[in-house]
Amino acid sequence: MANADPIVDVADLWMSFPGKQPDQPVHVLERVGLQVRHGEFVCIVGPSGCGKSTLLNVLGGFLGETRGTARVEGAPVRGPDPGRIFVFQENGVFPWLTVEQNVGFGLWQRSAAERDERVRHYIAMVGLQGFERSYPRELSGGMRQRVEIARALAANARVLFMDEPFGALDFLTRLKMRQDLVRIWQSENKTVLFVTHDIEEAVQLADRVLVMSKRPATIQAEVVIDLPRPRDLDSPGYLAARDRIFSIMGMDAHGGGVS
């Protein structure tokens, strides 16, 4: 494996949506450039509506860029790929399938035995034992989100694109899911690109945090989080990194604005 080549390589990427008037497109991304190396955990933070989901959807192959190139695993993105699994911000769990059918969905080409084994493992990981035969409408929002995460992990992709995957979870579940994700990432050698609006979450998880600006968005700053894991949330390094990102985004850590 050529670890030196970046897994995600974006240079001068532009993206706009057709606006209300045909001659006034909505510019969402401008001159975005970023690289993610093999095995890296990178978080993207930025204000709501700045284009984080748009960027991730371009990388996932669901949206075409307007200008520039997005290369993932060495080739320009042409469409979705089972080796790179997306966790959607709007829940993408299939309502007509049970929990176990959903979690096993990405394994539809594998043998039943292998599928059952992995499904059981990841259902246990996200703490949904006892709900294997339940339908999504019988679950809470946070439980549905855990089904989606289990489905993405069970598919054993090389790259995970996660769009605010823990947004709907309660505090404790979120902490546990973060630990699990870091553990899987470390043990299974995955590359993760993770969008969140939660700066603390980004600093707890990432090797590097990319801060996006307001729309039309670009990568405004990069903060390297060079802290050992598991991370001590009271350590000076953690607090310094957090406050740095807060101030880049125009806030101080206590919620006030910077003039």
Binding site: D81, F86, F88, G92, F94, W108, Y135
Partner: protein
């Protein structure tokens, strides 16, 4: 009103589910009886006259024969409409060129009442069973096609993206994602279409054939103003329509489609 067990109370129990509609029907029957007696009409039947008419039809062996004849035509016409309408609607919803080519034609044919097709049906099929079957097919194929099409078009994009992300394409994508995502709307179309089919068979039988519940009504009126039999025919039509609707509604409670009908 919701019938969720957590809010079971007055008007929400199992008993109420039977008692309320039966009470309504009993009231209507009494009102009907009183109204006929009060008006002094000797042509319009009282409820008990209708019951006697039904008994007479059973004894002559006509009731079952006519019901079977009507249901036979509905089964064929409606069955063909499902076989044509569901695949056609799925293709139209999925493949835009097909939609652009066919949708205007469909929308133009849809508002033409099946009754307006009766002369054409007789011209093409004579007065054999094929004519009413054709009319039922025509009446039910459009609701099924349009709702299947809408089911695909309204599918949430995230389901499609998730499935494509897992490498699904072609037939598996259609069978495992697009069809189940559209199924609740397809079933709604089927329910509407079955109601329309039942409506149309009676109308068609009044003109084109010599058996069935529609025929019974026209025949009873023409051969001696037997209004008790006319109303008996109407009662049978209504009752069978009710049963058909209840049967299709059961389909909507199947686990893999229930998500599509709101939180009930």
């Amino acid at each position: 009103m919701s019938a969720s067990p957590s809010r079971a109370g007055i008007g929400q129990g199992r008993l109420a589910a039977f008692a309320l509609p039966i009470g309504t029907i009993a009231l209507l029957l009494v009102g009907w009886h009183v109204a006929v007696v009060a008006s002094g009409s000797d042509l319009f039947p009282k409820p008990l006259d209708v019951l006697a008419g039904l008994v007479e039809l059973v004894e002559k062996g006509l009731l079952l024969k006519y019901v079977v004849a009507s249901l036979f035509r509905v089964t064929w016409g409606f069955g063909l409409a499902v076989l044509v309408g569901v695949p056609l609607g799925l293709v139209l919803g999925w493949w835009r060129p097909a939609f652009l080519a066919l949708n205007p034609v469909i929308q133009a044919l849809r508002p033409i009442s099946p009754i307006a097709w009766i002369p054409v049906a007789i011209l093409w099929f004579g007065i054999a069973d094929a004519a009413p079957i054709f009319l039922i097919f025509l009446a039910s194929v459009f609701p099924i096609t349009v709702s299947s099409m809408a089911g695909v078009q309204n599918m949430q994009q995230v389901y499609l993206r998730a499935a494509q992300n897992f490498g699904m394409r072609g037939v598996p994508l259609f069978r495992r994602v697009i069809l189940p995502a559209a199924l609740p709307q397809i079933l709604t179309g089927i329910r509407i279409a079955l109601g329309v089919a039942w409506l149309v068979v009676v109308a068609a039988e009044m003109i084109a054939v010599n058996s069935g519940l529609g025929y019974l009504i026209i025949d009873a009126r023409n051969a001696g103003k037997r209004y008790d039999l006319v109303v008996a025919g109407m009662v049978m039509i209504g009752s069978i329509g009710l049963v058909l609707d209840l049967l299709v509604r059961r389909l909507e409670r199947i686990d893999s489609v229930r998500w599509g009908y709101g939180q009930r």
